[in-house]
């Protein structure tokens, strides 16, 4: 019961933050609020027992993303153009999508059900056998690096590729342009 209460309080704070992001015109405030949003969601992850995820969200979502967005608004613009406060079409679209999604959740298992499909098949094997198979106390690390090591190799490759993409976009062109100027 207490967990549900905390869940709802945190969720109300998240929604207030998100609504404030919609209404703000100063991009600096928008970026700061998105950092607040990340910290609140990290709290929600802790309530739902995902300590590793909360740690990552607090370090990555609130720290790195905020720094990079601040760097971006320093390079682009500080305020957004005033937009009309209420637009009918987007509201209609999200209402339709929302109704469809809520209809889809009707068949889902209850929150916290030990016997739901997600908690029974391979996950149950991991929980009961990781102590003998891997012998690492933190099951998340054990699954991440050993049972699903191939997955993680792919994820690391994606991070590497995204980094290379940023370098090509921001550093490569500048160098090419400088060489063009030198040729002229």
């Amino acid at each position: 019961m207490i967990e549900t209460t905390i869940n709802i309080i945190l969720f109300v704070m998240l929604v207030v933050t998100a609504l404030a992001i919609i209404r703000m015109d100063k991009l600096f405030a928008v970026v700061m609020l998105s950092g607040v949003f990340s910290f609140l969601s990290a709290l929600l992850f802790i309530v739902m027992d995902a300590v590793d995820v909360a740690f990552t969200e607090a370090a990555v979502g609130a720290g790195i993303t905020t720094v990079l967005m601040l760097g971006t608004i320093a390079l682009t613009a500080r305020t957004q153009k005033k937009s009309p406060k209420f637009q009918l079409m987007p509201v209609l679209i999200i209402i339709i999508i929302g109704v469809a999604l809520i209809y889809g959740t009707m068949d889902m298992p209850n929150f916290g059900d030990l016997n739901s499909p997600a908690n029974t098949h391979v996950a149950a094997y991991y929980v009961s056998n990781s102590a003998t198979d891997i012998g690492v106390p933190n099951m998340v690390t054990g699954i991440l690096a050993s049972y699903r090591g191939f997955d993680t190799l792919g994820e690391v490759a994606v991070v590497f590729t995204a980094g290379v993409g940023v370098l090509v976009l921001l550093s490569g062109l500048a160098r090419r342009r400088r060489e063009d100027k030198e040729e002229l």
Binding site: N7, V31, S34, E57, Q80, K81, I97, G98, P137, M139
Partner: protein
């Protein structure tokens, strides 16, 4: 629709509401940076959905107790939350920040080429460029 059903499904509905707010920002707001913030909200609410699927009532964080030599020998009778969604989402968060930075880099480049990061002004500039190219081609043909 019983009380138990509502309590059990409320989490999913709450995250859907959060996701729709993110989607609204992406659709309705013209500023590109704000669109990225909206995408982040969307993404985080999907993460919450996954984590809430893995939560077990009465369970605890998936870390086994260990003795002072670091060996895991006991604690197997305790209920743990499902660690598998945690693994998927942990990597997804880091990949998410890498792709977000790719989007931000694109915004910086767009600002350099067009001088603005508002969607409608970029479209206007594009139309102007296309008209000018058309005129040039007609002049070349004539």
């Amino acid at each position: 629709m019983s009380w138990e059903f509502i309590l059990g499904h409320m989490n999913y509905w709450l995250f859907i509401i959060l996701m729709l707010i993110g989607l609204y920002i992406v659709i309705a707001k013209g500023n590109l940076l704000k669109k990225i913030v909206g995408l982040n909200i969307f993404q985080v609410s999907v993460f919450m959905m996954y984590i809430s699927i893995g939560k077990v009532i009465g369970g605890t964080a998936p870390i086994l107790p260990y003795d002072n030599t670091g060996h895991v020998e006991y604690g197997l009778d305790v209920i743990y939350s499902n660690p598998l969604p945690h693994v998927l989402i942990l990597t997804a968060i880091v990949v998410g920040v890498a792709t977000t930075s790719l989007g931000l880099a694109l915004i910086v480049r767009i600002r350099e080429e067009y001088g603005t990061i508002e969607e409608d002004e970029i479209l206007d500039a594009e139309t102007l460029i296309a008209e000018k190219e058309n005129e040039d081609r007609e002049a070349w043909l004539a």
